[in-house]
C-alpha cells in the first residue's frame, strides 16, 4: 500500500514538473489567413499548450476582439468583432475549459488589404506559480494580395511585430519580428515557440490525441529564443503549419488583484509548403 502511494506520488510529481515545462499559448485559430476573396471566417479562441494538446485553461473571458484593417497606405480602420463571439467549451484529451467561437461575416472582412486581428483576454490564474497571466494575441490575415499594415504595430501594451509577411510564409523561411512593450523594443525578451501539432477540430471544438510531430526530447516541445539588443527575434520555420510565438512577461502591467501578472505578447503565423 505504502509502495503504491509512493509510486503515485512520484508519478504526480513527475507529471507536475513535466506539465510546467509546456508553454502557455493563447490560441486564436482560423483555418485560412490568405484569401483571394473574402469568405466567412470561422474562429476559435482557447488557452492551452498547443504542441501537446495539453491542459485547457480558463482565459477569464475576452476583454477585446477586433481587427485593424489597412489597404496600401490608406488610413487604418478598427473593426470591432467581439459581438460575433460566443462562449463554448473546448475539450482536449484530459481537460476542458471555457473557450470562444465565432463566425466573422464576409462583409466585415471583404475589402482587399491586411487585417490584424487582436484578442485581449481576461486574466488566467496559475495556482502553481501563484500568478496571473494575460496573453495579448495577434493573427494577421490578407484579402486579395494588396498589403497594408502587417509590419506596423497596432499600439498594444505589448506586441510582436513581424518583419516578414506572416500570411505568406514558405516552409523554411525565417520568421523575423520585433518584440515591443509600450511601443519600445524589448532587448533580451524570452520568446517561447510552439508548433500546432494537434490541429484544432472546429466541428467538435477539440484537439485530437494524435500529434503530427514526434518530439525526441521534452526540450523540443517548446523552443526558446531571445530577442537581440533591438528587440528582434529570428526563427527558421522547419515545417508547414501554424507556429505560435509568445514573448513572456514583457507587458507594462505587472500586477493584478494583488498578485504578480505576466503580461505576454503572442503571434500566430502559418507556413505553407512550396510545391
Amino acid at each position: 500500500m505504502k509502495k503504491r502511494f509512493i509510486m503515485l506520488l512520484t508519478v504526480a510529481c513527475v507529471l507536475a514538473v513535466v506539465s510546467s515545462a509546456f508553454a502557455h499559448f493563447m490560441v486564436v485559430y482560423t483555418p485560412e489567413i490568405a484569401f483571394e476573396q473574402a469568405e466567412d471566417m470561422d474562429v476559435r479562441i482557447l488557452f492551452t499548450h498547443p504542441a501537446e494538446a495539453g491542459h485547457m485553461m480558463d482565459m477569464g473571458g475576452v476583454e477585446e476582439f477586433y481587427a485593424v484593417f489597412q489597404r496600401g497606405d490608406s488610413e487604418p480602420k478598427k473593426i470591432d468583432l467581439k459581438g460575433h463571439l460566443k462562449q463554448i467549451e473546448w475539450t482536449n484529451p484530459g481537460s476542458k475549459a471555457p473557450a470562444f467561437a465565432g463566425v466573422i461575416p464576409r462583409k466585415e472582412v471583404r475589402s482587399m488589404g491586411d487585417y490584424v486581428f487582436v484578442m485581449k483576454p481576461g486574466y488566467y490564474f496559475e495556482k502553481e506559480e501563484d500568478l496571473y497571466m494575460q496573453q495579448i494575441t495577434k493573427v494577421i490575415m490578407n484579402v486579395g494580395g494588396v498589403p497594408g499594415n502587417w509590419s506596423e504595430p497596432v499600439g498594444l501594451p505589448c506586441e510582436i511585430v513581424p518583419l516578414i509577411k506572416p500570411y505568406a510564409m514558405w516552409t523554411g523561411n525565417v520568421f523575423k519580428a520585433q518584440v515591443l512593450s509600450e511601443g519600445k523594443p524589448v532587448a533580451g525578451a524570452e520568446v517561447e515557440v510552439e508548433f500546432m501539432s494537434h490541429m484544432p477540430d472546429l466541428k467538435t471544438n477539440s484537439m485530437p490525441e494524435a500529434s503530427s510531430v514526434e518530439y525526441p526530447h521534452d526540450a523540443f516541445i517548446t523552443q526558446t529564443i531571445f530577442s537581440d539588443d533591438n528587440g528582434y527575434i529570428t526563427f527558421g520555420i522547419p515545417k508547414a503549419g501554424w507556429w505560435g510565438f509568445a514573448a513572456l512577461g514583457i507587458g507594462p502591467d505587472t500586477e493584478h488583484n494583488g498578485k504578480e501578472l505576466s503580461q505576454d505578447a503572442v503571434i500566430w503565423v502559418k507556413a505553407v509548403d512550396m510545391k
Binding site: Q37, R71, G72, D73, S74, K107, R110, S111, M112, G113, V143, G144, G145, V146, P147, G148
Partner: protein, 105 residues
Amino acid sequence: MKKLLILCLLAAMLTLSVQAFAHSPLMSCFDNGDGTVTCEGGFSDGSSAAGVSMHVKGADGNVLIEGKMNQDSEFTFNKPEGAYTVVFDAGEGHSVVIDGSNIVE
C-alpha cells in the same frame, strides 16, 4: 553626347519595366445591395490606385460609365441593367477586368 542620352533612356526604361514587374494590379468589387457597386483597387506592393481610370462596359462593349479611383482607391457606380464588365485600367499590362455576374454582395 547622343550615346549618353540613349544610355540614359535605356536605363530609365529598364527601371520602369522592373517596377512594372514588381507589382501587379488588383481589383475587387462588391454589390452594395442598394443598386450600387463598389470596386476597390490596389497594387501588390501596396501602392495606391488613386486616379486610376475605371470603365464600366455593357454587353456590347460600349462604355456605360467612366470614372477614376478616388483617394481611398475606391470607385462606386450605379449598377447597370443587364450584363456588364468593370475595367480597372492602369495602363498596358496593368488592367483588371471583372465580369458583373461575379460581383455579389
